[in-house]
Symmetry: C2
């Protein structure tokens, strides 16, 4: 997935783009993961879940989290389990539908996340420092448009 095209030819430019895209995100991801571990003793998946919940004080269902984060249901179960055991998140059974539970950040979780998110934003700014703000906006637009075309189709 990270190696270059095995030969030249048409369509190779998109393959090259994909490889670049993947290497870039893996490299940045690795760096962020390492810093999250070192500075805050946490992980990317935990950070992801907390970031999702931070925007929605009323909480999210497990399936909302799963959809939003683009990961499987079972995956979210495990991560939330660990966050609960650390007191950063709660699972509240609901009256209306007893299959579901609302997942929310605790006060601790919220404070904790705010601190981590601030550092995180700084890191991303640093790691993407050579991309101008203007260029960043353009790239973002390109990525946004190409994604929506095929994803979520059936």
């Amino acid at each position: 997935m990270v190696a270059g095209p095995t030969s030249a030819g048409p369509g190779k430019d998109r393959l090259r783009l994909w490889i670049r895209l993947l290497r870039a995100s893996r490299t940045i991801e690795a760096e962020l993961r390492e810093r999250l571990k070192k500075e805050f003793d946490t992980t990317l998946p935990r950070f992801d879940v907390m970031a999702a919940l931070y925007r929605v004080p009323e909480g999210m269902l497990m399936s909302d989290l799963s959809r939003f984060l683009l990961v499987s249901n079972g995956n979210v179960t495990g991560i939330v389990d660990r966050l609960v055991s650390e007191g950063l998140v709660t699972r509240a059974r609901r009256n209306g539908d007893r299959r579901t539970s609302m997942v929310r950040l605790t006060e601790d979780g919220s404070k904790s996340f705010a601190a981590i998110a601030a550092a995180h934003e700084g890191w991303v700014g640093e790691l993407l420092g050579t991309v101008s703000e203007d260029e960043a906006r353009r790239l973002t637009g390109m990525l946004k448009s190409f994604r929506s075309n095929w994803e979520g189709r059936e």
Copy 2:
């Protein structure tokens, strides 16, 4: 890692870019993983290792693979173990330095990879279909330049 900025402000554009980048690569990666599984009963990590080896008939050391693929040593050990047990790869002890071993594709592995790689390239072309070849080249250039600036530093 996949949620948006928690507030507005300066530096947010790079954060937005990072989130787009990550969502894009996760979405594409998930699609490719699924197809590799369904069509060829293999995985992305196996494909990555085989792609790396395919370019180098004389083989690679474990540490070369690890460096090239941006993953840890122990990780490569496990993946190569499985590829060996499937007969797609061999580990050849070396006379010169008995700590190391050369990892090579077997003939089976090589044939198998060629078929998978052809399909893979088609998929990537399809998934990135809305990006023109020209745009792909420009994006690739941007990604290349911003990466090299901080990665591999000390």
